[in-house]
Amino acid sequence: MSDATSPWAKAAVASSGVPGSAGPAAAAPAAPDLTPSRPIYDGKLSELYAIYLRHVVLMLLTLGWSRFWGRTRLRRYLWSHVSVLGDRFEYRGRGRELLIGFLLAVVMLAVWGGLMYVVWVEVFHERPFSSFGVFDAFSLSVVLLGIPLAFVGHYAGLRYKLSRTRWRGIRCGLAGSAWRYGASATGLTFVNVMTAQLLTPVVSVKLARPRIVNLRYGTLPLEFAGRASDIYGRYLGYYFLNIVAWVVAAIVLIGAIGGTVGGLDLSEEEFLTLFSQPNLRTVLLALAAAIGAYMVFGLLVLPLRCWWQAYLFRYLVSRSRAGNVLFATAITTRQMWGFMVLNYGIVVLTLGLGWPWVMHRTMKLISSELWLYGAPDGASIHQSADRGPRFGEGLLDMFDVGGV
């Protein structure tokens, strides 16, 4: 792990007045309790599947309307099978809340559509562009609004989930405005795209901050001490290696495809026949070619991305703290690969039926790789008066970015 020295050490040093650095554990005399621990996940894949299959059966029977309740049941299972310092999490959301949230989002969109229609008819009277109708305008506006709204929905969804999460009977929560987060996320993402992704460290840190410092466990807010400058060096390294990897991957791929097709020595007509009346052999060959392409791409480009993502994740975790509790993770590039790439592959190859497996793997990863140092001072943390939003996740559901 190559992360810089934890900023929390400096804070501890400053408060205890003893010079010296190294890790938090070295910030000695009035040594705070820094006993390490990890979350424990004791869910069973078979039990998770039993819940998931029931959910899918009901989805078919209700044409999808049961998803709010199914999601809630899955969360209850996952939350309840994770414990920290011997105490399990509790999920108290209800399917009904998700349903109402969804309906509200639908109403919002319907009102927006109605407004567009009125403006279209009243202001433009006749069609200004003959092939561009009110429906196109509505679709376009939803696509344009979709990106900011997806960010807003993401934040609001996080707030809902946290407000329904308890540990030791105390509710979590998320302060701050989802709209402000949506605006800043949209702006930052846009600027990042305009500058060829060179601002990624700034964007990552700026978007992580509100999600961490607004997080509450009861009355206890979390703190975040990350700075983009800490991670720029690694990012630039990744950035240029990434360009090299793309070029190499492209050359290898083009060479391989060109070689294979040239080697087959097919006329255009034969090639067309192969394509249009595929026999088993052609299908298998095409599959092999696709896997080959995936391997070349996967071997060169994706590990680099995982390398950066693992580094970023380690950094963000180690710069967060909750009162007395410090966090750290030593998640490796390989584990990030398993999380980002393998999980994706599982979902695609199983046509979605691998979801429980992916969730299970993710929970196991978190429980094996997240370290907590210290224990919260329970007596000083109180139940918050904020009960969170009354309904959940409408926008998130609408824009289809909500997993469990």
Partner: protein, 355 residues
């Protein structure tokens, strides 16, 4: 020894190692260390949160408070559940996991099969029940969108002659509603059918037709689509498969939906080929029933094949929305005998519909 229970007071984030004693009217929660009472909860106000299917340990709470009691010891949970009828959920064992997986798995497979059948065959019976007015509205809106930038041919007599023939054919096929024919100026050499009995001919097709039997043949084919409700069936099937994929993937994954869309496209094209065969057969039947010249369909295909000797539909195989042209010619070839579909005056008007 670990304490049999943990108690959270709901006001602070402290966890107390605890034990429990139940009396007739109260649950007394005791500090594990010294046996001192932490709280007393009236039995009538207790509630169980969750169940053993979802929660590792169902929680006990007092209604209206945030405090929680976690009874870690399963034996103690059973005892309490036996003692207090309202707390049965504390120890109610769920159905064995394997049995649930097998049960739900089998149901899922059966449901997917049923859903598929409903989409593939059910539309056959369901679509004709869809109110005709609705189908017309749908067809009209698609027509408006498709022809927004096109010019319609409005030669009154020609349009009338086409509409007259189309409605005679529809009646001959026992189609209970009116059909409407539009002619769009220009190409391609094609005609198509929209929901609600709306036929659209391109004028290039009329111009390039060798004789009136060919135009009548194409029209009979399109009426075949109308009487089989193909346009609406196509839409319903596509939407149905799309929905199936979404539902089975748990409504979560975009990726899976995208894959599904690819499969759906191939399925749509397969449907397309089946629809064309049906429409060809029905077209010929209509013409024969009306004792009209029925060689137009085959002769039109032959003419197309002459122009483009490579049979495009056969060449692109599973990617084609139409069956191979050669196959269609063989299936629809009829002798050049029978009544003419248009009078000479009508045919002249049809030829000049765009002038």
């Amino acid at each position: 020894m670990t304490a049999p229970a943990r108690f959270y007071d709901g006001e602070t984030a402290q966890a107390h190692a605890a034990s429990v004693r139940a009396t007739a009217g109260e649950l007394i929660i005791l500090r594990a260390a010294d046996g001192g009472a932490l709280v007393r909860w009236p039995i009538a106000e207790l509630a169980v949160l969750g169940d053993l299917t979802h929660e590792a340990v169902p929680l006990l709470m007092r209604r209206g408070s945030d405090a929680r009691l976690v009874i870690v010891d399963p034996a103690l949970r059973r005892q309490l559940a036996d003692l207090v009828p309202g707390l049965a959920a504390l120890a109610a064992q769920p159905t064995a996991t394997t049995r649930r997986i097998v049960g739900f798995g089998t149901t899922l497979v059966a449901l997917i099969g049923l859903f598929w059948l409903a989409i593939d065959y059910g539309t056959q019976y369901a679509v004709p029940l869809l109110p005709h007015g609705l189908q017309v509205k749908l067809g009209e809106s698609v027509f408006e969108a498709l022809t927004a930038n096109e010019t319609l041919c409005e030669g009154e007599k020609g349009v009338e002659a086409l509409n007259r023939l189309a409605n005679r054919m529809a009646r001959a096929a026992d189609y209970p509603h009116d059909v409407v024919v539009y002619v769009v100026n220009g190409g391609p050499v094609n005609a198509f059918t929209l929901p609600g009995g709306i036929l659209v001919f391109y004028s290039d097709l009329i111009e390039q037709a060798k004789d009136r039997a060919q135009v009548a043949g194409i029209m009979a084919h399109e009426i075949g689509h109308v009487v089989h409700h193909h346009p609406v069936k196509g839409v319903v099937r596509q939407l149905g498969v799309d929905l199936l994929v979404r539902l089975v993937s748990g409504g979560y994954s975009d990726v899976v939906s995208t894959l599904g869309a690819g499969g759906n496209l191939l399925l749509g094209l397969r449907n397309g080929r089946a629809f064309e065969r049906d429409a060809d057969a029905t077209g010929v039947r209509i013409l024969e029933k009306m004792e009209m010249r029925a060689d137009g369909i085959a002769s039109f295909f032959e003419q197309m094949l002459e122009k483009e000797p490579k049979d495009a539909a056969a060449a692109i195989g599973i990617w084609s929305s139409h069956p191979p042209t050669g196959e269609r010619i063989a299936a629809t070839r009829r002798p050049a005998t029978g009544r003419p579909p248009f009078t000479d005056a009508e045919w002249k008007a049809v030829r000049e519909v765009c002038k």
